[in-house]
């Protein structure tokens, strides 16, 4: 009996995320172009809501409410599907294999590949120095964001540093005390407007709650490692979030094209590396970066033309409909 209830929870989670993901992918197509902030947040909800739904349902069951047992309309009658699957001799095995496969991919990807790559970019902070010009740019960016009603929460602090390095990079470190690092090679490559756009993008990550937010979303995803859809969604979130920060950055600078131009210049560096022999994960990461840059520049063009759907009710409706869809699969 225990294994059947356990399987029902796995099935519920997988179907909730799968149906919600399919629904939202179509929403993106139908309401195109949708603000990347809305897209990024909605994708995060698709990962978080199923966990919340399971907690609420468990609390309702424990408190004895019949609402947990009997829904007015069930889109997918999970209990029937579960019993139907267990009555066959092989279907439960097939589904178990899919769920186990997803868990394996999650463990392999998160703990083996990233473990080998060191979990991110290493930075020698001893080479970091304060730079008056960068400080002024940061101040201008913060003022620009404030004018557009985006404020950095009081408990967060942002500082900016220049790092002497031949590689081009812009990095954000920290969870509450944020430090932005720009390499000297990058500063030399970009003009002032492009540097400002790059700094604005990093500050946008602070406003978006990026490192802490990523940790929380990753934790939610880690609670559903068996779910093949969360694998795809998490990847989407990371990609779309960059576009969301581009969007916020453009609100601050009112100059989306400067960011697009900075991205293109930085991509030149990525493509230059193509001349070298890269293998396995490194080559995949390079290709992914080129692909992501293309999408981001494309989104910035939409921004320039002010084409994004700005209806304030759309995000509210998306949240409500997501909850309805997920609750219909309980």
């Amino acid at each position: 009996m225990g294994r059947i209830i356990f399987f029902e929870i796995l099935l519920m989670n997988t179907l909730q995320v799968g149906v919600a993901y399919f629904w939202f992918k179509m929403v993106i197509r139908l309401l195109r172009p949708l603000s990347p902030v809305i897209v990024a947040k909605s994708l995060e909800y698709i990962v978080v809501f199923p966990v919340v739904v399971i907690i609420i349902k468990t609390l309702l069951v424990v408190s004895g409410s019949d609402f947990a047992v009997q829904m007015p309309y069930q889109m997918i009658r999970l209990k029937l599907w579960n019993s139907a699957i267990w009555e066959t001799s092989y279907w439960w095995l097939v589904l178990m294999a899919i769920l186990a496969g997803s868990t394996f991919i999650f463990v392999f990807q998160e703990f083996i590949i990233l473990g080998r790559r060191g979990g991110g970019q290493h930075l020698d902070t001893s080479a970091a120095k304060r730079d008056d010009k960068l400080e002024l740019i940061l101040k201008a960016v913060l003022q620009g964001l404030e004018k557009s009603n985006y404020k950095i929460p009081r408990y967060k602090k942002v500082e900016i540093f220049k790092v002497e390095d031949r590689e081009q990079f812009a990095l954000l470190k920290g969870i509450f005390h944020h430090k932005i690092y720009l390499s000297s090679a990058l500063i030399d490559t970009l003009d002032e407007e492009e540097v400002m756009a790059t700094v604005a993008h990093e500050v946008a990550h602070v406003i978006y709650g990026d490192n802490l937010r990523t940790l929380l979303i990753w934790s939610m995803r880690a609670l559903q490692p068996f779910n093949p859809f969360t694998l795809a969604i998490f990847r989407d979130i990371i990609e779309v979030r960059e576009s969301a920060c581009d969007y916020l950055a453009s609100e601050a600078t009112k100059n989306p094209m400067a960011l697009a131009s900075a991205l293109i210049k930085m991509q030149g560096e990525v493509e230059r590396v193509a001349g070298e022999v890269l293998v396995g994960a490194e080559e995949l990461a390079r290709r992914e970066q080129i692909y992501t840059t293309k999408n981001r520049v494309n989104e910035l063009l939409h921004l320039k033309n002010n084409r994004f759907n700005k209806d304030p009710f759309i995000p509210v409706m998306v949240v409500i409909f997501l909850l309805i869809i997920m609750w219909g699969i309980t």
């Binding site: 009996m1 059947i4 029902e8 149906v19 399919f22 629904w23 179509m26 929403v27 139908l30 309401l31 004895g64 409410s65 019949d66 609402f67 047992v69 009997q70 309309y73 069930q74 889109m75 997918i76 009658r77 209990k79 029937l80 599907w81 579960n82 019993s83 139907a84 267990w86 759907n309 209806d311 009710f313 759309i314 409706m317 998306v318 409909f321 309805i324 869809i325 219909g328």
Partner: protein, 173 residues
């Protein structure tokens, strides 16, 4: 406005489409999902349910004549109690309004039909079916027991007073 309408339409369409697919694919199976508990095992199965009756009229026999429990979802049940002296008096008590055991089909179809007619104001006699059978929900009975469940219902030709008392008397263990 156009985008909101598209969003509503797409969501409604998806819910309807997946719901229909679900009903189509698992249509045959749902009828077999109710498991009739053998008479000798009824008391034991009742003891495993998460509620108990604190009131049953003297005219009703115990244990129930029939008990159906949903396979792999044992919190769902339908049980049949009959009056000892009068075999025509019967009460079905259960908590699953989405599906019923085959044995209840005739009564349920009739009640659903009456319900539909009531909504269209075509029928004046309420939800009463042949044999004076009617549906009473826990809410109709005034709620009040510590079971406090909206989904406990009775399908019965017992008097309203007796049915309400039975529903009131169902409490969580």
């Amino acid at each position: 406005m156009k985008h909101r309408a598209i969003l509503i339409f797409w969501t409604a369409f998806l819910i309807f489409a997946i719901g229909s697919l679900d009903r189509f694919l698992i249509r045959e199976h749902s009828a077999d999902v109710w498991q009739l508990i053998e008479k000798t095992n009824i008391s034991e199965a009742i003891a495993r349910l998460h509620f108990r009756f604190t009131y049953l009229p003297n005219v009703v026999g115990w244990p129930p004549d029939k008990l159906f429990i949903k396979r792999h979802a044992e919190s769902f049940f339908w049980l049949k109690l009959s009056a000892i002296a009068n075999n025509d008096e019967v009460v079905w008590i259960g908590n699953d309004i989405s599906s019923y055991p085959k044995e209840m089909k005739g009564i349920v179809d009739c009640l659903e039909e009456k319900d539909k007619q009531n909504k269209q104001n075509k029928h004046e006699n309420g939800q009463i079916c042949p044999g004076k059978i009617k549906k009473i929900t826990h809410k109709d009975a005034g709620g009040g027991s510590n079971y406090a469940g909206p989904s406990i219902i009775a399908i019965t030709n017992f008097s309203n007073e007796v049915s309400s008392k039975i529903l009131h008397g169902i409490i969580r263990k």
